[in-house]
Amino acid sequence: MDARRVKTLLVSIVALLMASTAVAQSTRVDTIAEQQAEKAKELGPEGPSDAEMIIRRVLLSPLLSGGDGVYPWFGSVYGGSGMGVGVGFLKRLEKASYFNVQTGISMNSSMVVRGTFAAPELWRGMLQMDANIQWLDAHDVSFYGFGQGSSKDARDSYDFNPFELSTNVSLKPLRHVFLTGTYAYTPIDTHRETPVFGPADSPGLDEKLTFHVTRAAVAYDWRPAPGYSTRGGYYRAAFERNFESSGRPYSFNLQEYEVVQQLPLVREQFVLAGRALLTLTDADQGHDVPVMLAPFLGSGSTLRAFGNRRFADRNRVLVTGEYRWRPSRYLDMAVFMDAGQVAAERYQLEMKQFDVDWGIGARFHGPAFNALRLELSHGREGFRLTFAGSQPF
């Protein structure tokens, strides 16, 4: 190669070196800058993913957000009718007033339609009034005959169709103190396909009755939240006049006393909870307490190892104790024991006659509500599973 060509080769190499250096990064900053330049070519909007959009929509539903509008409803149409589903509509108005309608159907085709109008709160929330309307069509409601000695095999069932117009006035004169007055107009229709018990043993069934119910209750509730709590107590006394206005002999008075006490231990790691419930009725002279309004035991919140409305009579007593522990802030476990009795006369209520059951349960809950209660209980009629959406007491 001649000198000119050698010179050209050297210049080319130097030029290539410079050019290549410009391409291959010569500094750390250049390296990062190149990555940033690459990303700049493929930018997109920052925003929610599809999954986030779905969650947002779910959370905005009135059921979860507490806002206005249509919402799905899950609950119980009537005790013993199984899980119910439905739809509701809520409209919130000024001063805590609202209008709410729901309709639902249960696993055994029982149906309910109910509406509530809560008037604006008065006196800074001390006084509240509401008006309610409800139509219920409950199927296959159990009746085993009156008394604690009734047979499980002697099950009668009836369709229960009450229509209720009611109004409540609630006064909260002091912190924790609640005074409630209620008036309800309730035509009731019941029907049996194949009666097991005759009319004398099943008062009120297969008849059209019309009740005017007046109720007064006083309560002292110092639980942090009625829907779920780990401490505090609830004491209630209620007096009720049930007047049958169509001339049938089913007018009666009812008294009910309830005490719930929760004792937290080790900063609420454990809770000892107890409940006592006493319901007494006095039928007018020559009258009787109709089956469908008689006090009963047997359900997910009374004698839990027994079927719904397993025992019914004019009077009842129930005592429940629970030992609860808290594996999570959203899950409580409990072992429990229930004991109770129904009786035609008050003097017949005595502890040695009590039916007893025991069991274990898990409750999934939020800070102020119970979402799901699963319980397995055992009594003299065997094991029973309970699925419920509320606290047992």
């Binding site: 190669m1 080319s12 190499i13 291959a24 920052e46 959370l59 080790v266 808290r326 476990m333």
Partner: protein, 545 residues
């Protein structure tokens, strides 16, 4: 060889050698960088407010982010430090902090300009009220209150945490404690409010009184408030702890691999900032020196220390996540409750001024601390990340902590003293836990005379015993090929160590480990030095997790 062929061969050799060099070269001339490059303008960033419930569910069940855990942080410079950038600025350990500097922190003014505060918007959906106001100088401020009966708890805790997070290096807002007199509030002509269960409507005076009714009120009718100055720039969202922002070209390191976001866990644990989640941050689009970029701030420290913002801290907060681990729930369920978590039985200090904190922190386990919701960055955290954070905390001494606590103006001397001591005690537990967990050698230097000096951060902080000695493996290092060649091994009882006779090399690598110390100290740190006119410059440092 003819000329054309020679030219081609020269071209090929040049390109190949440069490509090879670019691919394998470990250190560039500008290493280590101390400022994260911002080379692109952010043009189309739009505001995106992530949903808190979704974030909670996402982190509980889907665990977003890189599935491969255990990777080294990817945004550290070559000496294992975090460059100044959109999330973090080196302060502790990099600049000389004093109590006065910590007390001032991000503040650049004395608070709102004198005159009426005009309400721009109000927070009506939460349990505690809040306002956004403009002062007479048209500056935007956010106002928050203490819950009734807990004067100074939320506002004071927020100030203290903000000062200390700033000292650690995070971007925080400017905060002031002030007294609000209701008559000093004016309602903006376009200000609207959406009371619970109502439609949005113009705000009126009764709305102010309704909102103030949920705040702690002083006997003279005024309210103690905390004001935070609106961060500069246009809000574009919140910090996310995994992936990168799709609209930010400068954001190229997945956030779960950013050391300052991993290390955020340690600072949050220190200050019991259980609400350390994306929603309590703010990303703003700022323009500085002609460049538009996104900067990220930590905000809302009302649920830190002994405060839960709406009341005192609950016992579980800091000990458990919002939803506990399923295995833990199962264990407790089977134990009939007799597997009792420590937070249910320990003793607490409680006062209206600072809320509720465990009385004794001497046995606190920072590694077992839980925020309400964890995140991808926390899940990817490694011991070298926690060590990094602990070295920052080590630079914030008790005097600075007391200065930050004094800014909280709690008005209760014994509570203030307890709080300062609690923060100091937790600081010590962090140092005791995270400094000895890796080989704690820091600040290696090689002087022109061949003396290699370094510090042992754990020994310096008196949280570990001195090692019997140190071993150094000396290598020549070829930066072009990223290859090291062992030359000699030396041992000394302490720093400095003497460099053995080394062959001529632009770079040398020294692997330093402790002899006779904890097992983790036997894993060497690697220091890389580049020869320059004056001697040797540290260009690389790597610590094994």
């Amino acid at each position: 060889m003819n000329f054309r062929r020679a030219l081609l061969v020269a071209f090929a050799i040049t390109v190949c050698s440069l490509s090879l060099g670019a691919q394998t070269r470990r250190f560039f001339p500008d290493d280590p960088i101390w400022r994260e490059p911002i080379t692109q303008n952010v043009k189309n960033a739009v505001r995106y407010e992530p949903d808190l419930a979704y974030q909670t569910i996402e982190n509980l069940f889907w665990r977003p982010g890189d599935k491969v855990v255990g990777q080294r942080a990817k945004n550290v410079n070559t000496v294992d430090e975090v460059p100044d950038g959109p999330y973090f600025v080196n302060r502790a350990g990099r600049m000389r902090l004093t109590p006065a500097i910590v007390a001032r922190a991000a503040n650049t003014s004395n608070g709102p300009a004198p005159g009426k505060w005009t309400i721009v918007s109000a927070k009506s959906d939460g349990i505690t009220p809040g306002f956004t106001i403009r002062d007479s100088a048209n500056q935007l401020w956010f106002i928050k209150f203490d819950p009734p009966g807990w004067r100074a708890m939320a506002t004071g805790s927020e100030i203290v945490a903000a000062k200390l997070f700033w000292a650690a290096g995070y971007h925080t807002a400017e905060y002031h404690i002030a007294q609000l007199v209701p008559s000093n509030l004016a309602i903006g002509k376009d200000t609207r409010i959406t009371p619970p269960g109502e439609m949005a409507r113009p705000m009126n005076q009764s709305d102010i009184m309704w909102l103030l009714g949920r705040a702690d009120r002083d006997p003279d009718g005024s309210y103690r408030v905390i004001l935070s100055k609106a961060a500069p720039g246009r809000p574009v969202g919140r910090i996310k702890f995994h992936g990168t922002r799709a609209d930010d070209p400068n954001d190229v390191v997945p956030h779960e691999h950013r050391r300052e976001l991993r290390g955020y866990f340690v600072f949050a644990a220190w200050l019991n900032h259980v609400d350390a989640k994306g929603i309590n941050s703010l990303s703003t689009l700022v323009t500085e020196n002609g460049r538009s970029f996104i900067r990220h701030y930590l905000l809302d420290f009302g649920s830190a220390l002994g405060s839960a913002a709406i009341g005192p801290r609950e016992g579980w907060e800091g000990y458990e996540a919002l939803v506990e681990e399923p295995s833990e729930i199962g264990k407790r369920a089977l134990s009939l409750g007799f597997d009792i978590p420590v937070w249910r039985t320990q003793d607490y200090f409680e006062s209206p001024a600072i809320g509720r904190l465990p009385r004794d922190h001497s046995k606190w386990h920072p590694e077992e601390w839980w925020p309400h919701i964890t995140n991808a960055a926390f899940r990817h955290m490694r011991p070298d990340d926690t060590f990094w954070a602990a070295t920052k905390i080590a630079e914030i001494d008790d005097e600075m902590i007391r200065a930050a606590v004094a800014e909280g103006k709690f008005g209760d001397k014994s509570s203030e003293e307890f709080l300062a001591k609690a923060i100091s005690d937790r600081r010590l537990r962090i140092l005791q836990t995270f400094l000895p967990k890796v080989n704690p050698i820091v600040d290696p230097e090689l002087d022109p005379n061949g003396h290699l000096s370094f510090r042992n951060a754990a020994v310096d902080e008196a949280v570990a015993d001195r090692a019997a000695g140190y071993r150094a493996l000396w290598y020549t290092f070829d930066n072009a090929t990223n290859r090291a060649t062992l030359v000699a091994t030396t041992e000394e009882t302490q720093s400095p160590m003497v460099m053995p006779l080394m062959p001529a090399s632009e770079y040398i690598q020294v692997d330093i480990s402790a002899v006779g110390g904890p097992e983790s100290w036997t894993r060497p740190v690697s220091a890389y030095f580049r020869r320059n006119a004056e001697g040797w410059t540290l260009v690389g440092f790597e610590r094994q997790p």
